[in-house]
Amino acid sequence: MKLRDCWIGGAVALAATLLAPNIVSASSHREAPFITKMPKVDGTDFYMFNSYETGRAGYVTILANYVPLQPKYGGPNYFTLDPDALYEIHVDNNGDGVEDLTFQFDFDQKLGNNGSGIALNIGGTNVAIPLAAAGPLANVTEPAQNIIETYTLGVVRGPRRGSAPTLVTNIGDGTTTFHKPFDDAGQKTVADYPTYANKFIANFDIPGCTPTGVGAGTHSRVFVGQRQEGFAVNLGQVFDLVNFNVSALGVNAPVAGEADLTGAQDQGKNVTADQNITTLAIEVPASCLTKDASSPVIASWTTASVRQARVLNPTATFDNPSREGGPWVQVSRLGSPLVNEIVIGLPDKDKFNGSEPKNDAQFAAYVTNPTFPALIEAVFGATGMLAPTTFPRADLIAAFLNGVPGVNVTGSTLYEALRLNTAVPATAQASQSSLGAATCFATPVDNAHGPALALSQAGCDPAGYPNGRRPGDDVVDIELRVAMGFLLDQNHAPIRAAPLVDGAEVDANKLQAVFPYLNNPTPGNEGT
């Protein structure tokens, strides 16, 4: 049966659903790209770095964030993951843009009280309560927890759909089941959230891999749960046509509240500071990710997929609100930060989300001929600033599609992913630069020779973005500067050295220094 037949079948079924009496039809009036309709599978940030927690040398930490912009309050249902979706982290270790190793997270959820829901006897009748938690929570399993999320973690070698996953074993209890903590509803529900959440960090070993270069007796770790949003961005002004100190129609002082494009890195403009996120975190030996010891560079990205067809149940239940079927369809993809936000054009954003790196040639023009710098020049050209005038932008190809020469080049195949040289030692948290490896480049002599890497340069921190990405890397500031020509010579990028910022602070020292590295979530009752 061809794909078209499936669509016809689906269309007929859906049309019948809409026409059938007593069946509710849903509609959405939002005009945003497709993924905004599916926040549970919307990947928001992706991190990969050599672990800098004490005693974890030789490990690589990978964090994939989903379910964007969670307000600290979220009850009564909070932010569960989609039990009908497949969340994946892919690793390519031979530079062909095809995954060689995939970690698959498959979630499940059920009601408390053995699936029937916690109930109260009201006047002789048992009545299910409407809340997700009926009392204090302190341990992995609690009778008071009324929505329980668990997951399995599978490993696939080779193409992700080429074979069935091998489920890893939770060393703590010998099963293949892992638990996800309840979101931080507030101190009355979870009195000590950090201690509570840490109980959900589980050990496992990767099937088929005997790690080298890690501490004796140590294991891989996994955690899935709510964290405080680690991505700092001046979201409102960036996406209001880069509305930084330009709204004054007169010649007075800058309008209060506007960010200064060349001001301090921290102007109090982080609009996501009190938001939460759901993090899928793994920490695995670098030796289990790389092809071999002589090939230390890996590329990685995260995806989320859902079944191609969904039929809504007109008499929905907790366990059966809809039925899903058909093949997996990828709806979210994320490697390097901000690529789909400010590089890929609007008509192709959903296509990018559904695409695989090996097919990225179709998006090359967005990188080689970017539109964002033209916007910056149109807004700030009256000052005499100029956007880079060299095309194709070979510097951006290095930054986004191929890796930086001398640091993390993956090969001749061009594809978008986050690249990490696992042989570059981690930088201790206290010594990290928020500008990451961008601090390791000197002014290029000319463009023909590419970015001028200067690892001995004072302040150089080669263990940060774009060599992987750590939570403390200010990727907005880095990408603003790279977009405006930081890796080009002065002749082709006159403002290459301008200290561009978005005014939202990122400071590694304000994040926790241990796995899963992102801070505990902002409690739901805070400030309310």
Partner: protein, 173 residues
Amino acid sequence: MRTFALLSVCLFVACKHQEPAPAPAPAPAAQPGLAADTQGVPGSKDLQGLGALPPLMTEEAAHRAPVKIPVEKLFDALAKGGVELASKHQVLARTAGAAYCMLGVTKDTIAIAACEYPSHDAAVAGEKLLDTRYKKLVPDAVRAVNGSTLVTVANADSHPAVRDRVFETFKAL
């Protein structure tokens, strides 16, 4: 509920084990070559795709201030004086607190931004605004006011003679 079950079965049968057809083999990716000789030419000559920005600039173009030295007059004079512009295009004037601005770029990537103000005092204030607020963005910018027009020359440290010629031409108008 029965309808739901039947539809579910239909859908499952229709889609069962149906992987999408494999994507066609991608075209060979373009390899990064040497930069094209595009110095002085902006990344985009057409900003119509930038949403709210073109209407803002259209509004600015429709409400230009009557000035002694319109930006076109300056650019024409520069061309006659041997300062050829590889490109020129309108930019957002409100950034400089101005009524209307254009940005010209020579083949040596020297930026020449010219802005029109409602008055001489406004132009002087605009010069002060740009000098203070955008000093770190364009640290080598040099500015001058003639009447109610403000000119900024930037990225010209390697071409001081061109910069001098721009200001001489501007002041002679």
